[in-house]
């Protein structure tokens, strides 16, 4: 108990902060912060597995998040039959061409020894393959995008419940991580960072501009939900009764019947959105707890010990007969898959997929701030980092506004500097993140909850 005192204290403070938001602002805001904190925590756990367990630096989190989001679209949206009949054949043919290309390249790689000739022939195959695919897919793509472009204009998905996409998102992200890992994992740490960052930009570029698959910047809205809709709840009897029971004390104070009815209606509307958010919280919390149990088990298993050995001394681990390359690839895939789950969860919660919103600042660097602040190598630390940093990210603007008003209290309301500062309140969050990261790195380089390895 004593050992874990700081963990318990840190988590209690965090929960208290969120509850304070609930009391002072509203429960709606508090719950949406809480939900996004949970999603951030999942992303942070993914990054933490790679960085904390294995010392691999992955600046491509944005790309995996977006792939998870894409999975949510592809799983949940109903298939667009017209688009399939218009261009599905061409797209499938192109897919076969890609598979054939990969197989041919694999064959060449296996069959022939390394030589200039081999390199050039592979280059020729890739270039001609890309041209061929572009040529063969072009009419199909155009046909698909022409099908009711204002509403669909893409192939759609499989029409399954969106919750499956959390698993599929993990597979998508893991698949990408396999390719990236094969390409880039041999690089030194900071090159790996740059390479993954750039690869994630490529992924985003593809998602943004391949309209036949993702609708691109036209966004996909109105995705299915795993939770009930507010509108349905507001007309359901049991829910209205529930709200009435919860607020019976408040309602009894109002004697006028019509006033009472309108207050109840108001409460039902508020209550419905809180209820929906609570449903999401339950789902997300389940994911976080399952992942936490799995990662904790992994951390203390022989495998976890091996990973730490590899992280701390690669040569020694290699000499002891551990396959460093293989283990690096494995952990890179696992971590990215977890990020993919988070990406699918995020889109599930928002109910929409907006490729234009994936920016490295929000989806890569912010997550890294979370990992570093929370404590790399410690799963509880990673989750706490996700919570604390996301909370600050959201609440930075009110805090900054308060501080500005406090420090410029002597100035008149129309003072140019004061107005300018108030106008730029949204950017103080960057300042806080930066200063927070710098301070933590300087004075507590292992994070709020540092890695603690007990030998049992």
């Amino acid at each position: 108990m004593r050992k874990n005192l700081n963990v318990i204290a840190a988590y209690s403070i965090m929960m208290a902060l969120i509850i304070l938001v609930g009391i002072f602002q509203s429960w709606n805001i508090a719950l949406s912060i809480f939900n996004l904190c949970l999603i951030s925590a999942v992303m942070t756990m993914g990054a933490n597995i790679q960085w904390g367990y294995a010392g691999l630096i992955n600046f491509g989190i944005m790309g995996y998040t977006a792939l998870g989001g894409l999975a949510a679209v592809l799983i949940s949206v109903d298939p667009v039959q017209e688009a399939w009949s218009a261009g599905g054949f061409d797209i499938l043919m192109s897919l076969w061409l890609i598979v054939a290309m990969v197989l041919i390249i694999r064959f060449i790689l296996k069959r022939f020894n390394k030589s200039k000739m081999r390199t050039y022939s592979i280059a020729v195959i890739i270039i001609s393959g890309i041209l061929l695919i572009r040529f063969s897919a072009e009419p199909g793509i155009q046909a698909i995008e022409a099908v009711n472009p204002a509403k669909t204009g893409f192939l759609g998905g499989f029409g399954l419940p969106i919750i499956f996409s959390w698993i599929v998102g993990a597979f998508f992200a893991g698949g990408l991580a396999f390719i990236v890992g094969k390409v880039a994992l041999g690089l030194r740490a900071d090159y790996l960072a740059i390479a993954t960052l750039l690869i994630s930009e490529i992924v985003i570029a593809i998602i943004k501009h391949e309209d036949w698959l993702t609708r691109g910047v036209k966004n996909v809205i109105g995705l299915k939900r795993p939770a009930p809709y507010e509108v349905d709840l507001q007309t359901t009897d049991w829910f209205i009764n529930l709200v009435e029971k919860f607020n019976s004390g408040k309602l009894e104070l109002i004697s006028n019947l019509s006033d009472r009815q309108s207050t109840l209606n108001q409460l039902v509307i508020e209550g419905s959105s809180v209820f929906v958010k609570l449903c999401y919280s339950g789902l997300f919390l389940t994911v976080v707890i399952i992942l936490l149990i799995l990662t904790q088990k992994a951390l203390y298993s022989p495998w976890g010990r091996m990973m730490r050995a590899i992280r701390d001394n690669e040569e020694a681990a290699n000499a002891m007969g551990k396959n460093v390359v293989k283990q690096h690839l494995l952990i890179f895939i696992l971590g990215s898959a977890i990020v993919g789950i988070a990406g699918a969860m995020l889109v599930t919660q928002d109910g929409l997929f907006t490729p234009g919103s994936y920016r490295p600042m929000r989806y890569t660097f912010l997550i890294w701030v979370m990992v570093i602040v929370g404590g790399s190598g410690n799963n509880f630390g990673a989750i706490l980092g996700g919570f604390a940093v996301w909370f600050l990210w959201i609440e930075a603007a009110p805090i900054a506004l308060f501080l500005i008003n406090f420090f410029t209290a002597g100035m008149s309301e129309t003072h140019a500097l004061k107005l300018h500062l108030i106008e730029s309140v949204p950017y103080f969050r960057f300042l806080m993140m930066g200063l927070g990261l710098l301070l933590i790195m300087r004075y507590r380089p292992k994070g709020i909850l540092p890695e603690k390895i007990e030998i049992k």
């Binding site: 041999g186 390479a195 750039l198 690869i199 600042m361 660097f365 106008e423 103080f428 930066g434």
Partner: protein, 336 residues
């Protein structure tokens, strides 16, 4: 005649824009490479530092404009750049003193320094946005064109016009002067040589009496000059927006690595490699072939290898290919 037309077309839409863009990238890439070679970390604050220098330049340009000072046909910003450089260097040196120095003296691993530079990136981004705001700023004044497309057509009687913006000429000229000065400094002066020595082998350099503090300071001064001029030229030619500058960090990194990180000359060429390949691969050659080929063979499609949406993706793919086949860059830099 048709051949000339085709040539002018390529010159106008590919060669000149790529040369300008490449110069802007090259300055940034040398900045990245110097920091990497001498201070030994990947500086993720590159783009935002450039936007800081540009911001100061813009503020001084506005100040001069309000005083009525101008350079006639040349943009007033040229006058403001020295002030921008001054404040940029001041900012960089103070960041180094309060942030980077601690990790350098502790001999922290490069990854940690890179992480710290992300903190600097956040802070710089905030400072820039708080001072000048996140929106587009134009600060160009003076004569816009040296050759206008219409005048060129009238002059030569060709179908294709050639437009030459003054900012393009300024960019290329300033880059040539700056880069030659830099290489002269690095290769011929004693300080420059000691910088190279320090970059090659820190311990040996220290043994031979090179003062590391001086080297670090000079590196930041050169970096400040490069960052401000590179950023200001980009802003003059296109426009200034903090977010664009942050994004420009990516092709700049690509250029530095393609050229072989730690190698200034490689970074210089890398900038052009990235710029030319981006524009070559995403340009629609339809019109070009219409001039070159006989009428019967004219292409129907746009003859575009990749759509312009993939502009960034092109440079990153080049980077990935280079990393795969020549991890030390085209022109040998530090081995990974």
């Amino acid at each position: 005649m048709d051949f000339l037309n085709a040539l002018i077309l390529l010159l106008n839409y590919i060669f000149i824009p790529a040369l300008t863009y490449g110069s802007q990238l090259a300055l940034g890439a040398i900045f990245v490479t110097l920091i990497y070679g001498i201070l030994r970390f990947a500086n993720f604050a590159t783009g935002d530092m450039m936007s800081f220098g540009t911001m100061v330049t813009i503020l001084f340009t506005w100040y001069f404009q309000s005083l009525g000072i101008s350079l006639g046909v040349l943009p007033t910003a040229l006058l403001a750049i020295p002030f921008g450089i001054f404040f940029m260097i001041l900012y960089m040196l103070s960041v180094d003193k309060f942030v980077f120095k601690y990790y350098r003296t502790n001999k922290s691993p490069p990854v940690q320094l890179a992480m710290v530079s992300i903190g600097v990136m956040f802070v710089t981004q905030a400072v820039v946005r708080i001072i000048i705001g996140p929106s587009d700023q134009r600060f160009f004044d003076g004569e816009k064109f040296i050759i206008k497309a219409r005048e060129f057509k009238e002059m030569t009687g060709l179908n294709e016009g050639l437009a030459l913006k003054s900012t393009q000429v300024i960019t290329v000229l300033v880059t040539i002067v700056l880069v030659s000065l830099l290489f002269w400094f690095l290769n011929k002066t004693k300080t420059g040589k000691s910088m190279k020595a320090y970059s090659d082998n820190e311990d040996l350099a220290l043994l031979s009496g090179i003062d590391p503090k001086k080297i670090v300071m000079i590196t930041w001064i050169i970096a400040g000059i490069l960052a401000t001029i590179g950023g200001a030229l980009y802003g003059l030619d296109k426009s200034f927006k903090p977010f664009t500058y942050f994004n420009n960090m990516l092709p700049i990194f690509a250029a530095a690595i393609v050229g072989g990180i730690g190698n200034p000359f490689g970074a210089f060429l890398g900038g052009y490699v990235i710029a030319f390949s981006e524009i070559f691969l995403t340009y629609a050659y339809k019109k070009f072939f219409m001039y070159i080929l006989p009428e019967s063979m004219e292409p129907e499609s746009l003859v575009q290898l990749l759509s312009t949406d993939y502009k960034f993706a092109v440079s990153f793919s080049i980077l990935v290919i280079v990393l795969l086949y020549r991890p030390s860059g085209i022109f040998k830099g530090k081995v990974l």
